[in-house]
């Protein structure tokens, strides 16, 4: 049996979580998932400004902080902290923790190969809209193929203490230690599916150990010290989801089911570079306090293609707010919205979208929100987006004047004019997997 713990569900997750996973009980592998769809583009921009950046900067200091404990207890770290610059990440890790052996997985970055791939005749089209890649080509900032568990397992096979990948799938981080330790084969679909589903359960950190859980949420113990998840994996591909005993939170079939359903598409066909996992085969059993056993998982062959994660610049946006107070707070906010729209129109400005929400009335759920006929206050929230930066800049001047020249009772303008942000949007396509050749480099 091996214990695989996940200490980060995204870049920006709780900094103390991985340290507590190491300190509060036994683990064999510490996996850290830093990358979301938009993270790659943020990292690409950082790399453009400084060629030594472009990776998750939280990671090297964390490894430095844990280095002695990792070494003395033989805990291996697997992370997709490399972002768009795994080599620079490895360099920074070695600087923070000189005694560790680091393995880097290269080959996911296809940013410089896009035209070559197009010239080979691969018709890359967006998986959601069907648009050809030519429609976004000038704005592309980053392009990476999602890679699976086998290159990461190969990196673990070198005896490295720390494995750094770029755009590996979230689930591969958890599956890789199983492939490495149990010698699972690339066509062992049921086993690979089980490891993939274990990865899906823990990839969002505490979201399977009581975080964001609706069931009896007020009774979830000691959330200030919530335990991040641990998979106790066996060679037969059954596993138990648990946490350190002394940590807070709760592991129960309710918390695990909620996470299993999170960001899921067709449950019978959860497609990864390693296999196609069938979520309708999962059997759960509560086998003890904070222990859920998972078994019965079936899987099918991996697809012949890999998914590309592409991010591109798609204009600008700004979101501004004002607060209107009782009485008639909603009516005042609605009147203010009409005034702003009329003023923007009279200035001759056009936008791809103007979107208004009334925070406190219906901002989250729109027509599905419960009625709230006489709220004590409402936040007017107007957002605009478009390709013309000047129009977006001008919008940012149109809210604060309403405090004096609009409906009564406006406040909440203390932050000043709203910020203008560049929109870095996400686009995905498929390419034949033979086009992606990964390579493991060991540095120490």
């Amino acid at each position: 049996m091996i214990r695989i713990a996940n200490g980060q569900g995204f870049w920006g997750d709780w900094l103390e979580a991985p340290v507590r996973l190491v300190d509060q009980g036994p683990i064999d592998f510490l996996v850290l998932d830093y990358l979301a769809e938009v993270t790659m583009s943020i990292l690409q921009k950082q790399k453009q400004e400084d060629p030594n950046l472009g990776y998750a900067r939280d990671f090297p200091p964390l490894v430095g902080r844990l280095a002695t404990r990792l070494k003395s207890r033989n805990i291996k770290v697997v992370a997709n902290a490399g972002g768009v610059n795994p080599a620079a990440c490895a360099k920074a890790v070695l600087k923070a923790a000189p005694g560790l052996k680091v393995a880097v997985v290269h080959g996911d970055d296809v940013f410089s190969r896009l035209d070559e791939l197009a010239s080979k005749g691969y018709e890359m089209r967006d998986m959601d809209t069907g648009e050809p890649i030519s429609s976004i080509r000038p704005g592309i900032l980053a392009a990476n193929a999602y890679i699976g568990a086998f290159p990461l397992a190969e990196a673990l096979d070198t005896g490295a203490d720390v494995v750094i990948a770029g755009r590996s799938t979230d689930t591969a981080l958890t599956l890789a230690p199983m492939v490495h330790r149990f010698g699972w084969k690339p066509d062992g679909w049921d086993k690979l599916a089980a490891g993939t589903i274990a990865g899906h359960i823990i990839e969002c950190g505490a979201q399977c150990t009581g975080g964001n859980c609706q069931v009896d949420w007020q009774s979830i113990p000691n959330m200030e010290d919530i335990g991040y998840p641990i998979i106790e994996a066996k060679p037969d591909a059954t596993f138990t989801v648990t946490k350190h005993e002394s940590a807070g939170g709760r592991v129960h079939s309710d918390t695990v089911k909620e996470q299993l359903l999170y960001e899921l598409g067709d449950p019978a066909r959860y497609i990864t570079p390693d296999c196609v996992a069938d979520f309708t085969s999962i059997q759960l059993a509560d086998t003890g306090p904070n222990r859920v056993r998972v078994s019965g998982i079936r899987g099918g062959p991996r697809p012949p293609t890999l998914k590309l994660s592409i991010s591109y610049a798609n204009g600008w946006k700004s979101i501004g707010t004002l607060v209107y107070s009782w009485p008639q707070a909603l009516a005042k906010a609605q009147a203010a919205d009409r005034i702003v729209r009329a003023r923007l129109k009279s200035l001759g400005l056009s936008f791809e979208e103007i979107h208004t929400e009334y925070f406190g009335a219906n901002a989250c759920a729109g027509p599905a929100a419960p009625p709230n006929p006489d709220p004590p206050e409402i936040q007017l929230r107007i957002g605009v987006r478009g390709q013309d930066r000047k129009a977006i800049d001008r919008f940012t001047r149109e809210l604060i004047p309403l405090v004096l020249n609009g409906p009564p009772g406006a406040t909440g303008f203390g932050e000043g004019r709203p910020a203008v942000r560049e929109i870095v949007a996400y686009w995905s396509a498929l390419i034949p997997r033979e086009e992606i050749q990964t390579r493991v480099e060991v540095i120490s």
């Binding site: 089911k257 960001e263 059997q283 599905a368």
Partner: protein, 104 residues
């Protein structure tokens, strides 16, 4: 007898691009057939009104006594493009708990 869905189910929701997914899980196994009968794509689409511009798809996970709902074109463009406060549909699952269902 009419009851809100939240009395027999819990939910979790999230995003994939401009699609929001809502997992609907029976609080007890015996509630699953009621959820299966009552939480139809048509009812869900009508409950969310013009928030959902596209279709609603439904998948069944009888092993978990759960449904997975996909609400297409429901996040104002999704991801970084969306101007919505809840650009990732994190609250849609909780909103659905208010939907009235027939439990007889």
């Amino acid at each position: 007898m009419k009851k809100p869905l939240g009395e027999i189910a819990h939910t979790r929701s999230g995003d994939k691009g401009d699609t929001s997914n809502i997992g609907v899980i029976a609080l007890k196994p015996e509630y699953y057939p009621v959820i299966l009968r009552e939480v139809t794509p048509e009812r869900v689409k009508s409950f969310f009104g013009d928030l959902v511009k596209g279709k609603v798809e439904r998948f069944e996970l009888p092993n978990l006594h759960a449904l997975n709902l996909l609400l297409h074109e429901a996040l104002g463009g999704g991801g970084t493009v969306s101007l919505r406060v809840d650009a990732q549909g994190k609250t849609y699952g909780a909103a659905l708990l208010r939907m009235e269902i027939d439990v007889d």
